[in-house]
Subunit: 230 residues, 2 copies
Amino acid sequence: MLTLFHHPLFANSRFVRLAFGEYGEELALIEEKPWTRRKEFLNLNPAGTLPVLLAEGDVPIVGATVIAEYLDETRGVLKRERRLFAEDPMERAEIRRLVDWYLQKTEGEVTRHLVRERVLKPLMPGTEGGGSPDAGAIRAARSNIKQHMKYTNWLSGTRNWLSGPRLSYADLAAAGTLSVLDYLGEIDWTDYPSAKDWYTRLKSRPSFRPLLGDRVRGLTPVSHYADLDF
Amino acid sequence: MLTLFHHPLFANSRFVRLAFGEYGEELALIEEKPWTRRKEFLNLNPAGTLPVLLAEGDVPIVGATVIAEYLDETRGVLKRERRLFAEDPMERAEIRRLVDWYLQKTEGEVTRHLVRERVLKPLMPGTEGGGSPDAGAIRAARSNIKQHMKYTNWLSGTRNWLSGPRLSYADLAAAGTLSVLDYLGEIDWTDYPSAKDWYTRLKSRPSFRPLLGDRVRGLTPVSHYADLDF
């Protein structure tokens, strides 16, 4: 079994867990607190970021999209219609664009800030960046959510899955991201009916179940978080 | 000929130009000022980011790593020993890790800040984010350069090229980044002899020549910028 260094409320870690889950491959999970800059972890990844996969031969594969490409090259190509990636270079580019949208753009404008202020700061000692949440950062992130939800609603209203007719990495990147924001109660789904329908379909998949069981210390999820009918 | 929307002092745009240059494929370049949020450009890329390639059929391919993957899938696979990517999934993961290091990590800790404060702000109108440079941001970015130069020096001292025995995307991502910092006179090469030797080899390649001719308004490059012997 391969090992994944992850954080339960990091969107990029969730994305990787969903991808392995879709292929029915179990991962040994190690929860890492990257802000402690643990020496053994920095030896695996000098950038100090999550997620890191220990692949065959314990070789570290660093970063969510790098892991996703590795997974596709070593497993995905054999999965036929269950493959989470396309064959055609243009379709692959569209899937990659959307993965970057959620794991880079939404992350940088919304997710990272809400997770830092609401999840991590209350748990971190002051020496590691802990302290009172920054209300301004929370407010800015919240005002940015709308644009990303609107875009998700538009995509899911015009396509069967976010990148086209088939489930792909794009859906898993989006779902990894939105599931973190949903845990925190930051999404008002009533405004985004197509996104809600799409998310309901994803949430019902077996790959999603472990994420719905995740809990972080001191912060219970919003009441509908694990409901398949919300 | 394909078209690239780029900025001459953005590392991610330089990375793409170097990659096409290595394959001897000329690009029509359109300089884009993404902060103006031009409507026609947002139609191509709703994220509003650079670079964007107009590929065959004028289909937009968005983002530096997405373009690099597309280039590999449509051209690189045919280039044999001139291919800028590896065959082996583990080696591919290492190349991708290093591309992300320079285009995400160095970008977020160093390059983006120095380019914004020193290149863009003096050119932008106040309504688009222009104004006096933030001395604190410049100071923070400068103190972060050392870690990235040390890492580059270590990589180039222990490997022939940054990701291993052959020139790869990793070298082009690093060179795209360091060439921007070098234009700005931010790198003291005397402290990093292996990195200097590696950069000299890259700088002498024909693919690099167009970058050495780049100039931005109001900011001449450091005197050794275009010297092959510096």
